[in-house]
């Protein structure tokens, strides 16, 4: 008991040290641009975990999830950029963005309460697009979002007077801007993981699972399906808004283009690929789908070096491999790369039953 506890602590510390030195290793081995990719990967982990609450826990297929990322990002951008001349502090803007996104989650969730499955997917897809088109067109008659040009010169994240947009020296170590963002995002990602874990194993988490399994039975067992669904939409959207705000501060520039349907589908793919409903699976899916496409960029150079010219455009290759990966996962690991314990349990149990039936057939024959 004591030993396993100590082992858990050691693993924990080892993991912490690994995560802490990772950006330096990556910076040294692959270059500064890869630290930026890691930052983006962490944002996608947050997004995927947020969508996982809606799709994985509550079973509500939401294809417009990126809208909440957009809401969070635009909240941040409007409240701390020259657009309105507002420069509110980070600690105020980020929660505002997350809260507004959560509110939008409820607003967009409310009309869809009676819909299920495919119909829900279609309507949420529409809502996602509506938000994007709004952002694209809210430059007239009153210019709010600056339309398709997007918002520029967004204030970098600044914590206690330290702007993460510039390099800083800390204990003699030079920390570049992407390094600093990495640590901020890491802390917030861990927070999102923690909240997700706690929610999953709670009264609320069980209620989400129940409505995913059977809405009628859930309601008959005293679950207020409307409220519990709205709560899932709100929680998911809040995480999306959080990631959106960080994205705006990190990039310094946002435009409606970043929030298209493809992004929503991408995040959904992360969940499906990694293992819906399972936190480690979702994290793995998000990391894979952000890192692999970037790695594929190198194939362009490789083709030039070996073949003299680029035969397959890396971005085409990305979609090709992407589609193939999804098909392979659906065929061979239908519950995802790291399926949730529940799904794994299902598969194992089915194997056992199959084995038993095999055995009885064998008995009958011999």
């Amino acid at each position: 008991m004591l030993r396993s506890k100590r082992r858990a602590w050691l693993t924990f510390i080892a993991l912490g040290v690994m995560l802490a030195v990772l950006p330096f290793v990556v910076d040294f081995g692959l270059g500064r641009s890869w630290v930026r990719i890691m930052d983006l990967a962490l944002l996608y982990v947050m997004l995927a975990l947020g969508l996982n609450i809606v799709v994985g826990y509550a079973g509500l297929l939401d294809l417009g999830y990126i809208a909440f990322y957009a809401v969070g990002a635009y909240c941040y951008a409007l409240l701390s950029s020259p657009q309105f001349g507002l420069h509110l502090p980070f600690w105020a803007v980020l929660p505002i963005g997350a809260a507004v996104a959560g509110l939008f989650g409820v607003l967009l969730g409310a009309p869809t309460l009676r819909l299920r499955g495919d119909y829900l997917a279609i309507v949420t897809l529409g809502f996602g697009e509506i938000i994007r088109i709004f952002l694209n067109n809210l430059n007239a008659p009153v210019n709010i979002t600056n339309g398709p040009q997007g918002i520029n010169q967004i204030d970098p994240v600044s914590l206690m007077g330290v702007s993460l947009g510039k390099s800083h020296e800390l204990f003699g170590i030079s920390l570049s801007s992407p390094h600093q963002y990495y640590y901020l995002f890491l802390v917030l990602t861990l927070l999102v993981v923690f909240v997700s874990m706690r929610l999953q194993n709670s009264r609320i988490g069980r209620a989400w699972a129940a409505i995913r399994e059977d809405e009628v039975a859930a309601e008959a067992m005293g679950i207020n399906v409307r409220n519990i669904k709205l709560l899932a939409f709100a929680m998911g959207a809040t995480f999306g808004g959080l990631a959106g705000g960080l994205f705006a501060g990190f990039q310094g520039f946002i435009s409606p283009e970043s929030f298209n349907l493809m992004e929503s589908i991408m995040i959904l793919c992360m969940i499906v690929l990694g293992g819906m409903g399972n936190i480690p699976g979702v994290i793995l899916g998000a990391l894979l789908l952000t890192v692999l496409p970037e790695a594929l960029r190198y194939t362009g150079d490789m083709q030039r070096a070996w073949l003299g010219h680029v035969v397959v455009d890396p971005s085409d290759l990305r979609m090709l491999l992407f589609g193939m990966a999804l098909i392979l996962v659906m065929l061979f690991r239908p519950a995802g790369l790291l399926p949730s314990r529940q799904r794994k349990r299902e598969l194992v149990a089915e194997d056992e039953i199959a084995a038993q039936e095999q055995a009885s057939v064998y008995d009958a024959r011999h």
Binding site: A209, A218, A220, E346
Partner: protein
């Protein structure tokens, strides 16, 4: 015995079909009341109206002298009426234990904050939910399958799990929709004892829909008979057995 539930002239139409016509029925506190009738007679429709899944086209339902018209299923449950389903509706991919734990939802309070911070109150509540769920599985006799997924249980065990889940909601009235369907005679006997125990030990009022007339005659204190959406008779099993309209309905002589 006082009337616990009063159904007054309940009618339900689906399009042009009259699923129920002016059904008036009183349920007395602490009784086991059977509901029988040929297929399509409106038994399940009556249950659905009672539990808030359907709103009646006309008529009134009172539970302890307050009207339940317009209440949602989860509100009805909170009042103390729980049910099981004709075509078992468990949370198939959750364990038996988790199924019963979901049943505690309406009687517990932890919200998002409680779940995230896992305060002392939430931890105590969670522990109590677990203990209660185990007790109920034990009570219906399937505690050995606590960790098994609901869909992997045998048919009879699934029916019993559904009862345990319903009991977890602390009901005063339990409505069982064909609890013996698919059970063999041994399982039926255990079920009969279980229903008796629920009434005698937990003080529940039990409503049962069942096709097995023999089981119903030996289990229920009173039986109500529906035919083509109309209540054609109600009374003790002995009275029902000799009622000419019931005999006609069951033997087909009364088909209109």
């Amino acid at each position: 015995m006082a009337d616990l539930i009063r159904l007054e002239q309940i009618s339900k139409n689906f399009g042009g079909i009259h699923a129920l016509k002016d059904v008036s029925l009183q349920v007395r506190e602490g009784e086991i009341l059977g509901l029988i009738g040929p297929n399509g007679a409106g038994k399940t429709t009556l249950f659905n109206i009672l539990t808030g899944l359907y709103t009646p086209s006309s008529g009134n339902i009172e539970f302890r002298h307050t009207s339940m018209l317009g209440m949602k299923p989860h509100q009805v449950l909170k009042q103390g009426i729980a049910r099981t389903f004709q075509n078992i509706r468990l949370f198939a991919n959750m364990t038996a234990l988790e199924n019963v734990m979901v049943g505690r939802h309406a009687r517990t309070h932890a919200g998002v904050m409680g779940a995230v911070l896992r305060s002392a109150a939430t931890r105590a509540e969670e522990a109590a939910i677990g203990v209660r769920a185990h007790e109920l599985l034990e009570w219906v006799g399937i505690s050995g399958h606590a960790r098994a997924l609901a869909k992997h249980l045998s048919y009879g065990d699934q029916r019993r799990l559904e009862i345990a889940r319903a009991l977890a909601t602390d009901p005063q009235v339990l409505a069982l929709d064909e609890p013996a369907a698919g059970m063999n005679s041994g399982e039926r006997d255990t079920l009969k004892q279980l229903i008796r125990r629920m009434r005698d030990q937990l003080g529940l009022t039990v409503l049962v829909i069942e096709h097995d007339v023999k089981l119903m005659m030996s289990l229920c204190e009173r039986i109500a008979v529906l035919d083509f959406g109309e209540l054609i008779a109600q009374g003790t099993p002995e009275e029902i057995r000799h009622d000419p309209r019931v005999i006609a309905a069951y033997l087909g002589g009364g088909a209109k």
